[in-house]
Symmetry: C2
Subunit: 176 residues, 2 copies
C-alpha cells in the first residue's frame, strides 16, 4: 500500500509518501514540504496548503493518508494554524474518498523507534535507515511526514488484518 503522511503546519507542512506493507522492505515515493509565508493572510496560507496537498495527491495517488493528530497542549501560539492545516489535509483526502488516519506523535515515535519519547534526530535516523536513504530527509517536518506514513503502514496493516480476520471469522457471539 502507498501511504502519504502529513506533518501539518502553516509555515512548513511536511509531506512524505511511502510504499510498503508490514514485514517487507519499505520504499520512498516522495518527500517534501509545502511552505507558506508568515506574512501572508491566513486565507492565502490555507489556500496554498490546499493547493500543495492537492498537487501531491494527484501525483502520488496514495491508498491512504495519515495525518498527525494535533493536541491543544502544543505550542499555543501556533496550534490553531497547525490544526487548520491538519483539517485541510483530512478534507482533501476525504473529498477523494481516501481513508484518513490520525496518529499521535507518540504513536509515531513508538512505531518507528520503539520509544514514545524519541527525539526528532532519532526519528530522522530511523526513517533514513528504514527507507535506505543516503542521507536524512530535511527539514524535520519532511522526515516526520515519512515517519507518519511508515507508522500507518505498520499500524494500519495490523489493524486491517485484524479487521479482515474478524470479518472472516464466524460470529459466535453476535450479542447486540
Amino acid at each position: 500500500m502507498r501511504v502519504m503522511g502529513v506533518d501539518p503546519g502553516l509555515t512548513r507542512c511536511g509531506l512524505g509518501a511511502v510504499e510498503g506493507r508490514p514485514g517487507a522492505p519499505l520504499s520512498l515515493v516522495a518527500v517534501g514540504v509545502v511552505r507558506t509565508g508568515a506574512d501572508e493572510e491566513l486565507g492565502a496560507r490555507l489556500v496554498g496548503i490546499e493547493a500543495g496537498i492537492e498537487r501531491w495527491l494527484d501525483e502520488v495517488r496514495p491508498d491512504a493518508v495519515a495525518v498527525e493528530r494535533v493536541f491543544s497542549q502544543h505550542n499555543v501560539r501556533t496550534v490553531m494554524g497547525t490544526a487548520q492545516a491538519a483539517g485541510i489535509a483530512v478534507l482533501c483526502a476525504a473529498r477523494r474518498g481516501l481513508p484518513v488516519a490520525l496518529h499521535t506523535p507518540s504513536e509515531v515515535k513508538a512505531a518507528i523507534t520503539g520509544s514514545g519519547t524519541a527525539d526528532k534526530k532519532q526519528i530522522g535516523a530511523m526513517v533514513t535507515r528504514l527507507l535506505r536513504l543516503a542521507e536524512m530527509p530535511k527539514p524535520a517536518d519532511a522526515a516526520d511526514a515519512l515517519a507518519l506514513a511508515i507508522c500507518h503502514i505498520w499500524r494500519g496493516g495490523a489493524q486491517s488484518r485484524l479487521a479482515e480476520a474478524l470479518a472472516r471469522a464466524p460470529r459466535r457471539n453476535p450479542a447486540r
Copy 2:
C-alpha cells in the same frame, strides 16, 4: 455591504448573512446552521462543513466573510474541531477571493451589546432587535453568526473608512 458570519463548529456551524452599513438599519439576508453527526468520521464532517459553506456562499454572495477567531483556551475537547471548521470557512472564502476577517468573541460581544462579557441571551436579544426580527434566531450558533456579521459591518466599516482616509491624506511623516 453584505457580510456572512460564521460561528464555527463541527456539530453545529452557525451561518448568518446581514446586509447593511454603519449608521443605517441592518437587514437579515439568511440564517441557519450546517450540522454534521458526532458519529461521522472527521473527514466526512469536514467535507460536510465545506459543502454547506460553499452552498451558502453560492446563494448569499457576500462581499466579505467574518469568522470567529478560535482560541486554544476554549473547551479543549472540542477546540480542534472548532479550529478546523473555522479554517474551512476561511479557506472557502479565500478561494473565491473574498475578504475574510477574524473577530474574537469579546470583540463581537462589545460591538453588539457594548460589553465584552455579555452572555448568549443578551447577544441573541440584541441581534433580534438590530435586525427587527419577530423572534430570537435559534440555535445560539445561528444568532452568534449574525452577531459576527453585524460586528464586521460596524467594525469593518470603521476600519475601511480609516484606511481610506489614511490613503487620501498627504503623508506628512512617512517615517515608519
